[in-house]
């Protein structure tokens, strides 16, 4: 099958795979799991035709290790999984963060814990995406809400990974993964694609973790280049070799954090929907945010003015945007398909003490509009 063109009906997972291919991904390692398997399926079929590689691994631990290795070898690499697989990937996700290996991890969330309600939708990996791997670390996570966004945010995930030399998580769910919608695929040549910085110093002067002051990101050689790359999962200095001297870890962790948080405006992405002035502001992300848009119309019929702040990037958390939204409106409802994960972050930045209510969908299906409406009515009481 050749690359689809123009307007057509497409599944979210397929859109994600094509987004990856258009972004330049040429290495996929994974262990198929519903509701993410179609991403593996498209990659298995298509990547070889693009000169890329698909490997079905023995498990998700190996999958994450393989994409980190491929990244260090110069490829744009990715994997896709769901619930149980996401848990297994956490250890090597940390390796990717520490070694600064740009790669993309797609998590098509389903109900957990454990096997849960296989394979129904949930958004309960929000905190796992943030803190799932051990240790102190930053992470970038994006949350698509439609098939069209599965395509574009996958490309953006690769671009951010390359720009920041960091793993990026695409946090989808069963609804956006397995729904079919009309999508307009652009000409791949019209896309803005970012590639990692390569070293410009002579090979003998190259230190793989010596960073540029302007963005705190070290230029990246690939295994096999004349510039020798050494990457370690242990605390390391500019050479890439282990270094346990007092101060090295502080320096490294601070830089890893600052290289992302000092440039947060390049990452933060939100959408404002509905009237500017409202009685209630909904805050949501991913597939739940679509139901929020639907609820804006339902509330209007009941005479309640509601607007929505949709988080397209969820990590780093958009503190400023959420804070401003809370300050502008007298009440807020956070809609998410878990028992309250994002709401903790919302409350963390709630300096105006705006009452914040939770609309929680944990029934193994897309959150029902009625659940959000009940919270909206409570909020205006």
């Amino acid at each position: 099958m050749s690359r689809p063109k123009g307007v057509q009906l497409m599944e979210g997972n397929h859109a994600c795979a094509w987004g990856a291919i258009d972004a330049g991904a040429r290495f996929y390692a994974g262990y198929p799991i519903t509701p993410s398997s179609e991403i593996a399926e498209v990659c298995a079929r298509e990547l070889p035709g693009y000169g890329g590689t698909y490997i079905q691994m023995e498990d998700e631990i190996g999958s994450m290790a393989a994409i980190v290795g491929a990244s260090l070898s110069g490829k744009k690499s990715f994997t896709a999984t769901s619930g149980p697989g996401f848990s297994l990937m956490q250890e090597n996700l940390g390796v990717g963060i520490y070694q600064e290996a740009p790669c993309v991890l797609v998590d098509i969330q389903r109900v957990g814990p454990a096997t849960g309600l296989a394979t129904q939708p949930a958004q309960a990996d929000v905190m796992q995406a943030r803190w799932g791997t051990h240790g102190d670390h930053p992470i970038i996570a994006l949350s698509p809400a439609s098939v069209q966004e599965m395509y574009y945010l996958t490309i953006r995930a690769f671009n951010l990974a390359e720009r920041f030399r960091s793993p990026v998580i695409l946090l989808g769910d069963q609804v956006v993964g397995q729904t079919y919608e009309n999508i307009a695929l652009p000409d791949p040549d019209s896309l803005e694609i970012m590639d990692r910085k390569k070293p410009i110093v002579p090979p003998e002067e190259y230190l793989p973790y010596q960073y540029d002051e302007e963005d705190l990101v070290p230029p990246m050689a690939a295994y096999g280049d004349k510039h020798i790359l050494h990457a370690s999962s242990t605390c390391h200095c500019e050479t890439g070799y282990s270094n346990f001297k007092y101060g090295t870890n502080r320096q490294l962790l601070t830089r890893l954090k600052n290289k992302i948080y000092n440039y947060i405006d390049e990452i933060i992405d939100v959408e404002y929907f509905g009237p500017e002035d409202a009685d209630v502001t909904l805050i949501s992300f991913g597939s739940s945010s679509r139901v929020c848009k639907y609820a804006v119309g339902l509330a209007e019929k009941e005479g309640i003015k509601v607007n929505l702040l949709r988080l397209i990037s969820i990590w780093p958390f958009p503190d400023r945007e959420v804070q401003q939204a809370l300050a502008r409106t007298g009440a807020a409802v956070v809609a998410e398909m878990n028992q309250g994960q994002l709401i903790g972050e919302v409350n963390r930045v709630n300096t105006t003490n705006t009452p914040v209510h939770l609309a929680s969908g944990i029934d193994g299906e897309l959150i029902r509009p009625e659940i959000i409406m009940t919270s909206i009515r409570e909020a205006v009481k």
Binding site: Y180, E181, N182, R290
Partner: protein, 172 residues
């Protein structure tokens, strides 16, 4: 208010419901609409409960499921029972008159799909047949787009019999 449709195609595995949902969705896109297609099916590939939900709108589709269907196709009793009590009075239910009994009779149309298939001489074309019956009752998509979508989604050697089944449904 922009025009929109919420269509449920429900029955059992093997009846081509999800393919029909795809054919209907692609026809709606050809007409210039936005579409959301979701499906659910049991563990058994054949025989278990299966359904496709199609939302068609001139505007962006926010809620991708059928919260308030405009039309339900029910090919089995289970499918009928799942929706009959929960849909609004405006919703048309088209049911298989051989397989579904105890109907409530309001805004419903029974159709003997089995007999029509025997007349057509092919039991496998049920989805093209019911797409014809649906379009006969409600102008959800243009007939031209539906025919184009049928051709696009079906292998050449079975196109003729499926187009015949579609026309047969449309003529009832």
């Amino acid at each position: 208010m922009a025009k929109s449709w919420q269509i449920v195609l429900a029955g059992e595995g093997g009846q081509g419901l999800i393919l029909a949902g795809r054919i209907l969705s692609e026809a709606a896109i050809m007409d210039g609409n936005n579409v959301s297609l979701t499906s659910s099916y049991g563990i058994a590939a054949r025989g278990g409960y299966s359904e496709a939900q199609v939302v068609i709108s001139e505007q962006e589709v926010y809620y991708p499921k059928c919260a308030s269907p405009d039309l339900v196709l029910a090919l089995t009793q289970q499918a009928y029972d799942r929706y009959a009590e929960n849909v609004s009075d405006d919703c048309l239910i088209i049911y298989d008159s051989k397989d579904v009994s105890n109907t409530k009779g309001k805004n419903e149309a029974g159709f003997d799909f089995k007999e029509a298939l025997l007349t057509l001489g092919n039991l496998k074309v049920i989805n093209s047949l019911f797409l014809g019956v649906i379009l006969k009752n409600r102008d959800i998509v243009s007939r031209e787009s539906m025919i184009e979508s049928l051709k696009k989604n079906l292998p050449p050697k079975i196109q003729d019999i499926n187009l015949k089944a579609f026309s047969y449904g449309l003529d009832q």
